[in-house]
Each structure stands twice: as C-alpha cells, then as structure tokens.
C-alpha cells in the first residue's frame, strides 16, 4: 500500500496496476483492512492479517507478517495474491527454497482463507529481507551510490541472478528499483523481489517494459526472457543513477510515443547527466532493437571491464511530416500502429482513403512498406475500394505491417503471443467473456503476426503450435474443451473458476476432490459435480490423457455420460491418492441412476443398487467405479443380454411360425385324423373278430 501511494506520488502511472485487476480482488490498495485471526498455511506458517508489512507490499499483493511455528526465530512475510490474477505457478517450484540465489527466497505457497476478502487466495511465503528495499520510491538518492557501488552492489549480483534464471529458462519480469531488496541489515546482499504473484510484467510500470511489450495489454505482456529483464535493469539503473524518474510527467501514451520516436535511451538520458562509464551500458541495455540489446554475456564483459564494440546508433525511421490520428501527431509507424490498434473505427478511413499510403510513401519515404500496405488492402478489400470488407482483419494486418515487432492487435485487444494466456484470463475475469481473444485465435490472427516478424525471438514453432492447439480447443463445443480448456492450459496458476469450487481456490488438481467434497454440502444433489470449468481444469492439469474420459462424459446418452463422470472422478482419486471423500461419493452415488441402468440385467441392477450404499459409506469413488463398471460384470451382462436377445428372437420366430401355420395344421390334422380313424377302425375290427372267434370256439 505504501508502495502504491508513494509511487503514485512519484508520478509513475503504471503503478495503477492493482486498479486494473478485477474489482473483487484488490487486496493491496482498495480493500479496507479488517483485522482477523491468524491464517495457517501447511499447519506451519501462521499468517497474521492484523500485521501488514507495507514495506514489502507488491502492487498486486500486499505483505503480511508470518510466524513459522517450527522455527519461531525465522523472519518471514507472506504476499497475498490477488485472486483475480493468475500467479506464475509454474515458476514457484523453481524458486522454492532459495534454489535461485539472488532472488528473495521463496519458502512456501498455497491457498489460504483470507478474512479481509472472505475468499481463498494464494499466499506466497518469502524470507523477509532484513535490509528492506533498495529504493522504496522507484528511485534512490544517487549520491548514496558511487559508480563502484552501482557496479558491485547492484549490477553484478543482478547479472549473476539473471544468468541463473536464464539457465533455468526463466525470466524475472519484475525488475524495477522498488522490487530490489537487501537480505542483510548491512545492505550488501542485493536480491530481486517477488516475481510470481501476478502474470509476467503485470506489475511493471510501463517505463520498465520494452516498447513492444508495453504496447500490449497489461496481462498480455508475455513471459519474455533475459532480454526483457536486461531492458528493465537498464531503465532501473537510469532511475538509480539519476535518483528519480526522468519521464515521470508523461502519460502512458506519451511515454510510448517518446520511447518509439526517440528511442528509450535517448528519451531517458538525452537531457540528463549520466556518468560516462555507464553510458555504453545503459545504451546497450535499453536498446529498442532486441537483436542489438546487450545480452548477459556483454553485460558480464562490461562488469569485468572487457572492451567491446560500442552499440551503433541506428536512426529511428521517422516521417518528415506528421500524420494526425486520434488527436495525436504520429511520426513513426510504430506509434501509429499502436493508435490504430486502440481505435479501429477511426483507423479505417485513414487506411481506405489512402492517407496512410500517402504518408508512408511521401513523408516516410518508404515505398516498400507502402507497397506492402497497398497489397494487404487489395488482398482483403479487393479491387473496389468502396466494397465492404473485413475491417478488423484489415486493420490487424496493417498494424502488423507497420509494427511487426509489436503485439498482436485485434479489435482493441493487444497481446504478445507468449502472453495470450494471462491476457485471456484477465479478459474473462474482468469482463466475464472473451469474445475478442477467441475470435482472434479462431481467425488465426497470430499467424499474421508470425508472418510479419522480421526477427523472431519467441521460438515461433512452440508458440505457433500452442495457438493451433488452442484453436482446436476453441472450436470444440464438447465439455472439457472450449475456452475453459484454453484458460487452464495457458494459465497453470489460475484456480478453477467453476462456481462449485471457486471459493476454495483450487489451483492444483490435487485439491479438486476435497473441494468438491466440501461443495457436496452446499449444492443441489442433482447438479453434476463436473461442469465445463472443472472438466477443462482436470484435462489441462492432469498429466494423463483424459480425452477418452471426456468423450464419455460428453456423450449425449446419460448412461455413458454418468459412467464418464464417475470414471474421471475415480481416476482423480486413484491417481492422486486422495483419501476418502464421503460427501462427494454420496453426491456422485445419487447421480449413478443412468450408469446403473446401463446394465441390461434387472438382477444385476438390483444387486448394484443394494451394494452402492455400502460403497458410498467407504468414500471411495474408485471402488464404486470398479463395482459399477466392472469389466467381467459388464461382459457377463452383455453376453447375457445377447443370449436373451437371441432367445427372444427364437421365441418370436416360433410364435410366428405357429401362428402362420393354421392352414397347414388343419391339413395335418385332417391327415392324422384320417390315419387315426383308419387305424382305429382296423384295430376295432381285429379285436371284434378275435373276440367272436374266441366266443364261437369256446
């Protein structure tokens, strides 16, 4: 909270980050604090909501005092994540236990019931830096740091930390002066602060983001890499050297425009006195061309004093005359693309009426780009300029041509391809729908971005493959796929958003069954325990392929879907070794009518109905599943049913034969009757004559 207040006072607009988060989740700045009892994490870490530690607040995560019950002498603090933001859960395990030296040691994390919000939130426990922040106010008194200290105290440890992060294929993405701490009271051991409580780059003020990522939406800035961290380090060093923010009076748009038109280094330092030894370092780190920007090796060379070829200044392509658009004069295609992306409607006449072509061709003197733009317009609009066309696609393509390194821009939604997941999550959490991101993926808009890249830095194969998979997910209407599947696949730290378990903050699939077990007491027993969110959450978080289970669950036949429902829950309980879940078992047991009726045999069904209550009392879904869908039992039922069908058909045939043989039977009866009468007559004759002969003889 202190950080927020002070940074606002310091004129850094991007510190409004918490305000950008969902209204329900703004623990840092907007929630009136209500003291509550201690909250326990893992039966060990006692977080005390009544003891905030504002000195360590993050823009999206306030800090609170923590007692370690097993080691009371330990100094810990807890950052309480905003429940409306997906934390970087995939990064947490790699930082746990201080494995990456140079980052404030992450001790533990997990969801806790947070009394001030009345819901569960992710709490991240850190060791408390004894020396406090390096620069609480986004800057430091430059007089406090000599050149040697900046090199040895700040640059060297951060470079080493970034090297360690790079070896783990991680990026910090939250390097800024007020997120640097000293672990020791002597303020000699500098570490990077929290990097996991919000999406990458989310809390970063715009000035610390590269131009292209700064143009993306706050949640869509993307994972990035060491290059983005080095850029943020360069800007941070400028702050620390000058002791202030040199561009503090500029709005976000003006800041982006200045950086794009002058270059970051020039914008930050051109009117300032920068010590000579740092000029090359800052120019290299804040270079706007990712290929020219210093990498870690060059930074390490600078630290060791190795002479290097200075970075060649490349003039930024600017137009001779301005293009007035949306109330602002534009001199570079990059700022124009940003403005077009934000105001598609106003951009259309500029593009269609040829003002853009004229500006590029005449003022920019870039005939090649003008030709590409004309070609794109022709491709999408056709030869007739007055004909209706796909305006959104047209502006997107124009933007990608004007600023190929910029974010993917579509109908006002801008994201870096590696930041699509958090951007999608924020759209859903803030607006409750994500029509534009879905449309962008379904229309393969990112492909335009990849095609327009002059210099790919993101491992396009992997990212492009991810978009292809997400497009397939979006296109599938079945349960377990769709937007929900994308949401969880692209945001590993996002808790399940199902209304059944949202209050339990189920971020790990291991916590799902216990949460559903609790939910069983709250919800109508006829409600299915697996909705679209839960199915997608399971599919995204389980290592095992669940497509067969989902197919069964999605089946239109209630018999199959109820077996699918049971099977997927039983799989969870079995795979994750979850203990008995009595309430959930009872809940599921009440929904097994169709599964039981999937057996043909009435005797088997009665036996199942008699036995299920006993199994429910054991709380084992796996046992119920094994009992309900026993292979031998199923086969015996199928065989018995086949036999019964055959027998029924045989009886039918015989009945039909009997019923259809009336005439033949009458004929047979006639013949047999005649034979019987003939035989009877002959027999009677023989008997009578024999008697008569005997009578006459004796």
């Amino acid at each position: 909270m202190a950080e927020t207040t002070e940074s606002q006072a310091n004129g850094v607009p991007a510190q409004e980050a918490p305000g950008g988060a969902p209204a329900s989740a703004a623990p840092a700045a907007n929630t009136a604090f209500v003291p509550g009892g201690p909250v326990l994490l893992d039966e060990r870490y006692q977080i005390e909501p009544s003891r905030p530690v504002p000195d360590f607040d993050m823009p999206s995560a306030p800090a609170f005092h923590v007692e370690d019950r097993r080691d009371t002498g330990r100094h810990l603090l807890a950052s309480i994540c905003n429940p409306g933001l997906p934390p970087r859960a995939e990064v947490m395990p790699q930082l746990k236990g201080g494995h990456v030296k140079g980052i404030v040691p992450l001790v533990e994390w997990g969801p806790v019931d947070w009394p001030t919000l009345g819901e569960r939130c992710m709490a991240v426990i850190y060791e408390r830096p004894a020396g406090g922040r390096l620069a609480p106010n986004f800057s430091a008194d430059g007089a406090n740091f000599t050149e040697l200290e900046i090199r040895g105290l700040i640059v060297e440890p951060i470079a080493a930390t970034l090297r360690r992060l790079e070896s783990r294929d991680l990026a910090h993405r939250s390097i800024r002066p007020n997120n640097l701490f000293f672990m020791d009271e002597a303020r000699q051991d500098l570490v990077l602060g929290d990097a996991v409580t919000c999406p990458p780059g989310f809390d970063q003020p715009l000035i610390f983001e590269t131009i292209e990522r700064g143009m993306a939406s706050q949640g869509g800035r993307g994972e990035g890499g060491a290059s983005e961290d080095l850029y943020a380090l360069g800007v941070s060093l400028v702050f620390l050297i000058l002791g202030r923010n040199p561009l503090e009076r500029l709005s976000e748009d003006a800041l982006l425009a200045v950086k794009a038109e002058q270059g970051t280094f020039a914008a930050l330092c051109s009117r300032e006195r920068i010590p000579t030894p740092f000029i090359e370092l800052l120019r290299g780190l804040t270079s706007d061309d990712a290929l020219e920007r210093w990498d870690l090796e060059r930074l390490e060379n600078w630290i060791t004093g190795t002479r290097m070829t200075p970075v060649q200044r490349k003039p930024i392509a600017k137009s001779a005359d301005e293009l007035l658009f949306d109330g602002r004069e534009h001199f570079t295609p990059r700022t124009l693309a940003h403005a077009f992306g934000q105001n598609t409607t106003e951009a259309l006449p500029v593009v269609k009426e040829g003002r853009l072509d004229h500006w590029i061709r005449r003022s920019m003197g870039n005939g090649k780009l003008a030709d590409l733009v004309s070609e794109a317009i022709k491709d999408i609009q056709g030869p007739d300029p007055s004909a209706p066309c796909d305006d959104d696609l047209l502006i997107t393509k124009i933007c990608s041509l004007l600023d190929p390194l910029g974010p993917v821009r579509y109908r006002g939604f801008a994201f870096m391809p590696d930041g699509f997941g958090p951007a999608l999550a924020l759209e859903i959490l803030r607006r409750g729908e994500a029509q534009i991101p879905i449309e962008a993926v379904l229309r393969d808009i990112p492909a335009l971005w990849f095609a327009a890249q002059r210099s790919l830095q993101l491992g396009p194969g992997v990212v492009e493959g991810s978009f292809a998979r997400q497009r397939a997910n979006f296109q599938s209407p079945e349960i377990g796929y769709g937007i929900e599947r994308c949401l969880y696949e692209l945001n590993p730290g996002l808790p399940c958003q199902s209304q059944l378990v949202i209050q339990d903050y189920v971020a790990d699939v291991e916590d799902l069954l216990p949460a559903l077990n609790d939910a069983a007491n709250r919800v109508d027993g006829k409600t299915s325990p697996i909705d679209r969110h839960i199915a997608a959450f399971i599919a995204a978080r389980m290592e095992q392929d669940t497509s067969a289970y989902l197919a069964a669950l999605a089946d239109s036949d209630p018999k199959t879907s109820s077996v699918g429902l049971l099977s997927i829950l039983a799989l969870l309980q079995w795979r994750l070794n979850t203990g008995p879940v009595f309430n959930l078992t009872s809940w599921v047991g009440g929904l097994l009518g169709p599964a039981i009726s999937s057996y043909h045999s009435r005797t088997t069904r009665r036996a199942l109905e008699r036995e299920i209550p006993r199994l429910i009392r054991q709380g084992s879904l796996a046992d119920i599943y094994d009992f309900i869908d026993n292979r031998e039992k199923r086969r015996a039922d199928e065989n018995g049913f086949s036999d019964a069908v055959a027998q029924y058909e045989a009886t039918n045939v015989e009945i039909e034969r009997i019923e259809s043989s009336d005439a033949a039977r009458a004929e047979t009866a006639e013949t047999i009757g005649q034979q019987i009468s003939a035989m009877s007559s002959v027999l009677i004759t023989l008997i009578v004559i024999t008697i008569l002969v005997l009578v006459e003889t004796y």
């Binding site: 079995w574 027998q647 009866a669 019987i676």
Partner: protein, 152 residues
C-alpha cells in the same frame, strides 16, 4: 371266378353287405383311401357274425339272401359301417382341435418366456438396437492396472 363258383353265397353276402365299403372305395379319391379302411373295417365287423353263420350253417345262396333280407342283420351290418363313417368324419376335427390347443399352449409358454426375458433384460431385448457401449474405452484403466492398488 372260381371263388364265385365255389362260394357264391359268401360272395353274394359280402357283395351286398360290404356295399358301404365299396361306396367308400369309389368316392374316396385320395391315394391312401383311409375311408375304405375305416368304413370297410367296421363294415366287416358287422358282416363277420353272419358270415360265420353262413359258413357254419347252410352255405347256400338262399341262406345268404335270408341274411340280407333280414332287417335286423342289415341294420347291424350297415350300422357298423356307419359307425366307421362316423369315426372317419369325427376324428380329424378332433385331432385338429387337439393340435390347435397344443399350439396355443406353446404360444402361451413362449409368451411367458418372452415376458420373463423382458422383465430381466428390459424392453431392449424385444426391439434390440445396437447401441455404443456405455463404457468409455480408457476409464477401465484404474481397475485394470491396479487391482491391488485401488483401495478396497
């Protein structure tokens, strides 16, 4: 011819007394001629006592004519033949009725079996439509691979 010459009274008696059998022989067009057996057999039963009287008494044509002109004897002979006709006419419908009863009993028995099958296996057993197996393919895995692991 020799028989006619040697035992003309017998022939005369048999010819007139067995007239119903002869008529039956003529009118029964079936190859088996069951009516001849039926009528003739009982007709001969009626004739036989008078035939033995003829053979053991005076074996003359006049004795044969006496028998044939005796109303009682003719009544007896032709009644026997008539009884034969009656059997021949009555038995086939009776057999038909019996066969019909047997068939109906069989149908009832089969219907009972069908009802039992429907009670046990449901209506599908009567109009069975091939449905996809309600069991998903994969979900068998927990019980399949872990008979000893899944908590009992």
């Amino acid at each position: 011819m020799l028989v006619v010459i040697l035992s003309l009274p017998t022939v005369v008696l048999l010819f007139f007394a067995m007239m119903p059998a002869i008529v039956a022989f003529i009118i029964d067009r079936s190859p088996q001629k069951y009516s001849v057996y039926c009528v003739g057999g009982l007709n001969f039963c009626g004739v036989y006592p008078f035939l033995t009287d003829l053979w053991t008494g005076q074996h003359t044509v006049s004795a044969a004519v006496d028998i044939l002109t005796d109303v009682f004897s003719l009544l007896l002979i032709y009644s026997a033949a008539g009884f034969g006709w009656m059997i021949f006419i009555a038995v086939p419908p009776l057999v038909g009725a019996i066969l019909t009863v047997i068939s109906q009993r069989r149908i009832a028995q089969l219907s009972r079996i069908q009802r039992t099958l429907i009670e046990e296996w449901g209506e599908d057993v009567a109009g069975h439509i091939e449905e996809p197996s309600p069991k998903p393919q994969e979900p068998q895995e927990p019980q399949e691979t872990s008979d000893d692991q899944v908590p009992a």
